[in-house]
C-alpha cells in the first residue's frame, strides 16, 4: 500500500503555488547573490588593502627619495666647502691670513656660496664659522643676531660633538642672522684642519623647510591622508598638525612608528578611523610615515559601489524573473482550478484546455474525462428519477377510488333490486370501460376521443348516482379530436368538482368540460357552478397530497407535475375559483398529432416501462 506522507511542517507555508515558487526562487537567488557578493566584497577589500598599502609605500618612497636627495645635496655642498682651499685657509687656526687680506678671501668664499645658492632654490643660507671667530656667509654683509649665542645653537653643539660627521637638525627657526627668522633644516659639520685632526670651525647649510613642507603637503593620500616625519628620538620633525600634537589634541602612534622597520605598514583602527601607517627610514635617521584612510581610497569606493550596484540589479532582475517564471508555471494550474470551481457550482459543461502533455496536461485530460462521466451519470440519475416519478403518478391516477367503486357497486345493486335492468347494464358497462381504461398500461398517451369517452363514462356513473344533483355538458371542439392527450387527465378535476363543488351544493350543479385549440396549445377546461373556494382553500389545493388526501385520490399538484414532467414547464394546470359562483380548472398541454406524438416529445422516457 502506498502511504501518503505529510511533512510535519510544510516546506512552503504559502497558499498558492505561484507564491511558493517565487519564494523558492527568490531564496535561491538571494542566497547565491549574497554569497557571491560577500566573496567579492572580501576579495575586493583584500585587494584594496593591498593596493593602498602598495600605493602608500610608493608615495613614501618617493618622498623619501626626494628628501634624501635634498639632504645629499646639502652633504655635497658641505663637502665642497670642506675641500675648498679658501675656506680652509680662512678659518685655519694657524692662519697666515692677516686681517688686511681677509676681504678678498671673504669675497671669494661668499661668491662661491652665492653661486651655489643661485642654483639651489631649496637652500636658505650657507655659512662658515671659524673657531678663530671669523665667519662668512652667502651674504655680502653678514650681521649676526647679537642676542643669539653661537655656542648655544643646537646645530653648532651637535656638529662639534659629531667630530667631522655631518649632522642634520630638526626643523627650527634659524635666528643666527639678524632680523631673519626662517624655518630651516640645518646640516652642520665640523671642518678639520689640513692635518685632519684638529678642528677649525663649523660649516652650516640651511635648507628651507618650505621644501619639505611643500613636498609633504602635496602628497595625495586620499582626501584625509597625510605624511609626517619623526626623527630617531621619536620627536615629530614635520606634521601637518604639529600644533595640535603639541597641545595634545591629536596623537600619533609614535612608539609603533619607531619600532616599525623601514618599508613596513601597520594598521591602526581607533576613533580616528581605519588607517594604514607606512613607514620608511632615511639614511640620516628620520622616518617618513604616510597615513592613508581606508574609507578614503578611490579604488575602494568604486569597487564597493560596483558590488552594491551589481547586487541590487541582480536581485531586482532575479526577483522579476522568478515572478514571471512562477506565473507561467502556475498558469495552467490556475486555469484548471478555475474550471474546477465552475464544476463545483454545478456547471458540468466545462472543458479544461489541454496544453502540453506534461503533468498538468494529463491532469486536465483526466479532469475532462471525469467531468464527462459525472455529467452522464447525473443525466442518467435525472432520467431514472423522472421515469420513476411518472410511472408512480400514472399508477396513482389509474387507481379507482375504492369508495367510488363501492358506491357504484352499491348503486348497481340498489338498481338491480329495483329491477332497473337498463340502468344496471348502462352503469356496469360504464364501470367496465372505466376499469379497462385504468388497467391498460401499454400507452400513456391516448387520442383525445378516448379520454373524452373515459370521462363520459365516469360522468355517466356519477350522474346516475347523483341524478337529482348533477348535470354535465361536454363542449369539445372538433379540431381537438385530432390530437392526443395524457390518459385519465380530466378525471381528478371532475371528481373534485363533484365531491367538493357540487355534492354539498343545494340544487343541481352543472359541470362543463370544454376542449379547444388555443394558439399552439390544446386546452381543456373543467368548470362547475358549485360552492367555489376561498383564496386559502385555493392555495391549499396546491399542497402536495399526503395522508388523508392520498386516500381520497390524487392531488391537483400531482396532475400538474405529471403534465410538466411529460411536456415541460410551459404547460400545466391553472385554477380560478370564486366562492358561491364556481370553479374553473384550465389544463394546457401541447398539440400532439397522433402519429408523431411519441417521438416528438423530448421528455418521453427512453427507458422501457417496467411492470
Amino acid at each position: 500500500m502506498f502511504i501518503e506522507r505529510r511533512p510535519v511542517f510544510p516546506l512552503f507555508p504559502l497558499k498558492s503555488i505561484q507564491a511558493s515558487i517565487v519564494f523558492a526562487f527568490s531564496c535561491l537567488i538571494l542566497i547565491a547573490i549574497a554569497a557571491t557578493s560577500l566573496i567579492g566584497y572580501r576579495l575586493s577589500v583584500a585587494a584594496v588593502e593591498n593596493n593602498s598599502k602598495g600605493y602608500i609605500k610608493e608615495v613614501i618612497n618617493q618622498v623619501n627619495t626626494n628628501i634624501q636627495s635634498y639632504v645629499d645635496n646639502m652633504e655635497n655642498i658641505s663637502l665642497l666647502a670642506m675641500t675648498n682651499k679658501d675656506v680652509k685657509y680662512y678659518i685655519s687656526s694657524s692662519s697666515f691670513i692677516v686681517d688686511g687680506e681677509r676681504r678678498p678671501y671673504e669675497k671669494r668664499i661668499s661668491d662661491l656660496f652665492q653661486s651655489i645658492l643661485y642654483t639651489r632654490k631649496d637652500i636658505a643660507s650657507i655659512m662658515v664659522f671659524g673657531y678663530n671667530g671669523r665667519f662668512v656667509s652667502d651674504r655680502r654683509i653678514t650681521t649676526l643676531n647679537p642676542n643669539a649665542k653661537l655656542e648655544e645653537q643646537a646645530w653648532y653643539k651637535n656638529a662639534k660633538l659629531a667630530g667631522g660627521k655631518s649632522v642634520i637638525s630638526a626643523p627650527h627657526v634659524q635666528n643666527i642672522l639678524q632680523n631673519e627668522y626662517r624655518w630651516v633644516v640645518s646640516l652642520s659639520r665640523e671642518l678639520k684642519n689640513v692635518d685632519g685632526l684638529t678642528a677649525d670651525g663649523i660649516f652650516l647649510v640651511d635648507m628651507n623647510l618650505n621644501v619639505i613642507n611643500d613636498l609633504c603637503s602635496q602628497i595625495n593620500l586620499g582626501r584625509k591622508g597625510y605624511v609626517f616625519i619623526v626623527d630617531q628620538d621619536g620627536n615629530i620633525v614635520y606634521h601637518p598638525q604639529q600644533q595640535l600634537i603639541y597641545s595634545n589634541l591629536r596623537t600619533e602612534p609614535i612608539e609603533e612608528v619607531r619600532s616599525a622597520a623601514s618599508g613596513t605598514t601597520f594598521k591602526v583602527d581607533d576613533d580616528g578611523g581605519k588607517r594604514f601607517y607606512s613607514v620608511k627610514a632615511t639614511s640620516f635617521g628620520w622616518k617618513i610615515v604616510g597615513v592613508a584612510y581606508e574609507d578614503d581610497l578611490i579604488g575602494y569606493k568604486s569597487t564597493l559601489g560596483n558590488t552594491i550596484l551589481l547586487t541590487v540589479v541582480g536581485i531586482a532582475i532575479s526577483l522579476l524573473i522568478s515572478v514571471v517564471l512562477s506565473h507561467r508555471l502556475s498558469r495552467p494550474i490556475r486555469n484548471l482550478q478555475r474550471k474546477m470551481r465552475m464544476v463545483e457550482k454545478g456547471n458540468f459543461n466545462v472543458k479544461a484546455e489541454v496544453g502540453q502533455m506534461n503533468e498538468i496536461g494529463q491532469l486536465a485530460r483526466t479532469f475532462n474525462m471525469m467531468v464527462g462521466k459525472i455529467k452522464n451519470l447525473m443525466q442518467e440519475i435525472i432520467d431514472t428519477q423522472e421515469y420513476k416519478r411518472k410511472s408512480e403518478l400514472q399508477l396513482l391516477q389509474a387507481q379507482i377510488n375504492p369508495h367510488f367503486l363501492y358506491n357504484t357497486l352499491d348503486s348497481i345493486v340498489w338498481m338491480a333490486e329495483q329491477k332497473q335492468h337498463e340502468e344496471v347494464v348502462l352503469m356496469t358497462s360504464a364501470l367496465a370501460k372505466l376499469f379497462r381504461a385504468s388497467i391498460t398500461k401499454d400507452q400513456e398517451l391516448v387520442p383525445v376521443r378516448v379520454e373524452i369517452e373515459h370521462i363520459t363514462n365516469y360522468l355517466l356513473i356519477q350522474k346516475m348516482r347523483y341524478s337529482n344533483k348533477l348535470d354535465y355538458r361536454l363542449e369539445i371542439a372538433e379540431a381537438a379530436f385530432g390530437y392526443r392527450t395524457l390518459k385519465i387527465l380530466l378525471q381528478p378535476f371532475v371528481e373534485n368538482a363533484i365531491y367538493h363543488g357540487i355534492r354539498n351544493k343545494p340544487g343541481i350543479g352543472t359541470i362543463t368540460i370544454r376542449g379547444m385549440e388555443k394558439d399552439d396549445q390544446l386546452v381543456f377546461e373543467v368548470e362547475d357552478d358549485g360552492l367555489g373556494m376561498t383564496e386559502e382553500q385555493l392555495e391549499r389545493i396546491w399542497e402536495p397530497p399526503g395522508g388523508e388526501l392520498r386516500r381520497k385520490g390524487i392531488g391537483i399538484s400531482n396532475v400538474d407535475e405529471r403534465i410538466k414532467l411529460y411536456f415541460g414547464h410551459a404547460y400545466g394546470v391553472k385554477i380560478r375559483s370564486e366562492l358561491a359562483v364556481g370553479t374553473c380548472v384550465t389544463i394546457a398541454i401541447p398539440k400532439l398529432p397522433p402519429e408523431v406524438a411519441a417521438s416528438a416529445s423530448g421528455t418521453t422516457p427512453k427507458l422501457p416501462i417496467q411492470g
Binding site: N145, P146, N147, A148, A170, H172, V173, N175, N179, Y181, W183, L209, N213, S217, R223, K224, Y226, N235, P240, Q241, Q242, Q243, L244, Y246, S247, L249, D296, K301, S302, G305, I308, L309, V312, V313, A316, I317, L320, I321, V323, V324, H327
Partner: protein
Amino acid sequence: MKVQRFTVALALVLIGAALFFVFYFNLYHVGPAGERTVVVMLKTSNVRSDFWQTVSYGAEAAAKEAGAKLEVLGPLQENDTAAQLQLLEETLASKPDAVVVAPINNDGVLDMLGRIQRAGIELVVMDTPLRMEGNPARVSGNHREAGRQAGRFAAQETGGQPVVAIISDYAGSGVSIEREMGIKSAITPDSYTDTYYIGDSEDQAYLAAKKILAAQPPVNVMMALCEPAALGAAKALKEAHRTGTVRLIAFDSSLYEIKLLEEGSLNAIIVQRPFNMGYLGVKNALRQLEGKRIAQETWIDTLVVTKENMYSPENQKLLFPFK
C-alpha cells in the same frame, strides 16, 4: 497573451528604474556628497597678520581632516567693521552649512550674526567674548587665565613682591578687561597700582610708561595688554635704562615683540594658540552639524614664553607661524 506582454514591459520598466536609481545614488554618493561648506570669518585676512593666518591654518587642518569644504574670509584691515559686515552679508547669501566667525564687537555685526543664526546656519564664535541672543558656541583664548599666568609670572619674578601697573588699550575692550581681571586675581590687591589706557598708539604707551616709572611707590612689573603698549613701554624702559629691573610682560606675539623678548626687553609674553582656535572652531562647527553636543564654551589655553624657552620646538611653532 496580453498579460504576458504587460509582464515583460513591467519587468523592463522595473529593471530600468532599478538601474537608474542605483546609478543615481551611486554617483551622488561617490561624488561630493556630504561635503559641508564652512565659512571662516576672520577679523582680518591680511597675510601679514600672523595670528589670523595661523587661525586659518588651523581651520584648514580641521576641514581637511573632516573632508569639508572651507572658505576663509576677512577684511583686509583689522577692525574694519563695514567690510566685515559686507562679507557676512555675502556669506549669508551663499548659504554655507556653518559659519565660524571672529566678530568685531559692533552692534551691526551682532545683528548680522543673529540673522545668520536664524537662517539655520550653524554659528561658532571665535576669539571675542560677546553677549548675543542666540548664545552660539564659543571658542576663544582663555584671556582671564592668561592674565592669571602673567600675574603669577610677575609674582615669581619679583620674589612675591610685585608692584604692578597695567597698560591697556581701551576701557571697553572685552579681551583687555578679561586679562586685567586675571592679573588682579593672581596678585594681592595692594600689588596693583593703576591701569593706563593708551588706545592703539605706541607714543601714548611710551608716555604712560614714563609716567609709571616716575610714580611712587616704584613699580617693578608692567603689564602690556596690547602690542603698542609693549613696544612703547619697552622703548621707555630702554631709555630709562630700567630694562630688566622693571619687568615687562606682554600679551600675544608679533615679530617686534619676539625681538624684544630675544634681546631681553620683554621678560615674558603670554601667547595664545591661534592654530588651535581655528582648528577647534571649525571642528566644533562640524560636530554641531553632525548633531553632536559640544561644549558651550571651549577655552584655548595660553602659554608663558620667555627668552629661555622661546626656541623650544613647541614654542617656535607658536611664535613663528609656519603652515
